[in-house]
């Protein structure tokens, strides 16, 4: 442990010295350093964006790499939408774009202008919960609650799409939302309750 500390301290001092030396160098050398740096660490690119989320228009500037999920959570502090896997495999990040359920972790923010996003924060009207939110509470549709925003967004779409004719159909059309706590029975009941 100790040697590691010493090593990193020495490393820090050395690098700091290198940077100080760099400041004293003529500008052509600095330009060369910039070029090398850009080659190794490509510069990030930003993009001006106008996006509509929960009926509110936001004007922002974001790194081109920003996914809708990161835009919501990191840039706009709309942390209701959860990051489970970040690779399209769990459904925790489900939101609605133009009324359809999609995965925000595989959606680029840059592709959103002109579209309307709805997140879990946009479902309730004032203090009045959306019927699906109410149903999840009444039917024990969650345990830890981490998958729940994604489950609810997906469930609202599932009802709208009409895929609620049987338990088997609900399960098939909710299969894109995993729940590690296994609250599946309560989730199916919540959907049946709202669909009725």
């Amino acid at each position: 442990m100790k040697t590691e500390h010493l090593y990193s301290r020495r490393f820090f001092l050395k690098t700091a010295a290198a940077f100080t030396a760099l400041a004293a160098l003529p500008s052509t050398v600095k330009a060369f350093y910039q070029e090398v740096k850009n080659f190794i660490v490509p510069a990030k690119q930003t993009l001006p964006l106008v996006v509509t989320i929960n009926k509110k228009e936001y004007q922002l500037s974001a790194d081109t790499r920003t996914t809708l999920l990161d835009l919501l959570r990191e840039n706009l502090q709309l942390t209701g939408t959860k990051k489970g896997c970040d690779h399209g495999q769990c459904g925790a990040c489900t939101v609605h774009v133009d009324g359809e359920r999609v995965l925000s972790c595989l959606t680029l923010a840059a592709m959103l202008p002109g579209k309307k996003v709805t997140t879990i924060e946009g479902l309730a009207v004032g203090d009045k919960l959306h019927p699906m939110q109410q149903a999840f509470i009444e039917c024990d549709g969650f345990q830890c609650g981490y998958c729940t925003p994604g489950q609810i967004m997906s469930a609202v779409a599932c009802v709208k799409e009409g895929h609620t004719r049987s338990v088997a159909e609900i399960k098939e059309f909710m299969s894109g939302n995993l729940c590690r706590c296994g609250a599946y029975n309560g989730i199916v009941e919540s959907i049946q309750k709202v669909a009725r």
Partner: protein, 325 residues
């Protein structure tokens, strides 16, 4: 992800002529963004082609044309497809999740890359990801890998369900080349076998766009089925899948189609079994024989011997299901 420039395509000629080797087109993004996050695909520039290509399903005298930007879920809801080409909807509904199907485009579905675990793990050798580095799966963990048509260089399987149905229905892919001319590639020639160049999944010309997919009129709509066997019942890629279609007159098979996913580097047609079924009565004995005929050609690897019997069972089941659905 590596930083990249982002542009929205505004005209087809400009889009095609400006494409460099380090440019990637993005449609639904469900495969590309995943690969970019894992540093498997590292474009310098992304071009959003979503408003450049048709999102319409058009019927004409000889069949239907599905625009490259038609969402996978739209295919499963289209009245014409549900009546005349239901196999397409059945296959799509067996894949991914409702959210992903809402995002995924028809063109992107054809170009999705393999799910071989080593292809996804950039710390391991993989000829598809890094040509010449070797294949980790051929002697490694190959439970999900191919059982036919593979090479020593790559034993990966093609992951799409939609493509299996398209292969069975003799579809064709209309591509717009960089000189803006359209050409048509028969579906059986669109995807490749790995051979010594596994880095190339398809025969789509460099810098070309998928314009649309053509499916010819057929008489398979009454008797077709898609069977997908996987590790869990939904939201998982196929271990083995079968698209089966029969054109029946009374109980006599006029034409049969059998294609499989999860078995090869491209959607695989079982031509010999199809030929065998032609002119036969549609019954369990003939279905069993056809399934055995297909399975006799496969050569499983160390960990996927189970796929042979699985394939046989899936073919029999799919043919039986053709009679009940």
């Amino acid at each position: 992800m590596k930083p990249f420039a982002f542009t929205k395509a505004e005209s087809l000629p400009k889009t095609l002529s400006a494409k460099k080797e380090t440019t990637q087109f993005i449609a639904g993004g469900t495969n590309l963004l995943d690969l970019m996050k894992k540093h498997i695909s590292q474009p310098d520039e992304l071009v959003d082609i979503t408003s450049m290509l048709s999102d319409k399903i058009e019927a004409h005298k000889k069949g239907i044309r599905i625009g490259a930007m038609v969402r996978n879920s739209t295919v499963t809801l289209d009245a014409n497809i549900l009546t005349n080409y239901p196999l397409l909807a059945k296959a799509i509904l067996a894949g991914a999740s409702p959210q992903i199907r809402n995002m995924a485009s028809a063109g992107g579905n054809l170009l999705q890359r393999t799910r071989c675990p080593y292809f996804y793990d950039i710390t391991t050798p993989c000829n598809k990801r890094q040509p010449g580095s070797g294949c980790s799966a051929v002697e490694g963990e190959n439970r999900m890998s191919a059982i036919i048509g593979y090479s020593e260089q790559c034993v990966a399987v093609h992951p799409s369900d939609f493509c299996i149905a398209l292969a069975a229905l003799d579809a064709a892919v209309v591509v717009t080349q960089s000189n803006q001319k359209n050409s048509t590639i028969p579906f059986s020639d669109f995807h490749r076998l790995p051979g010594s160049t596994p880095q190339q999944d398809t025969n789509l010309p460099a810098n070309a766009l998928i314009h649309s997919i053509e499916i010819p009129v057929n008489d398979f709509h009454k008797n077709c089925a898609y069977v997908k066997v996987r590790d869990r019942d939904s939201y998982a890629f196929a271990l083995v899948s079968v698209a089966a279609a029969l054109d029946l007159k009374g109980n006599t098979i006029q034409e049969a189609r059998l294609a499989s996913g999860g078995v090869a580097h491209k959607p695989w047609r079982w031509y010999e079994a199809e030929q065998y079924l032609k002119g036969k009565e549609a019954n369990a004995v003939h279905f069993k024989e056809a399934a055995a005929m297909a399975a006799k050609d496969v050569k499983p690897l160390a960990h996927n011997g189970f796929k042979k019997l699985m394939l046989q069972g899936a073919i029999e089941t799919a043919l039986q299901n053709c009679l009940t659905t």
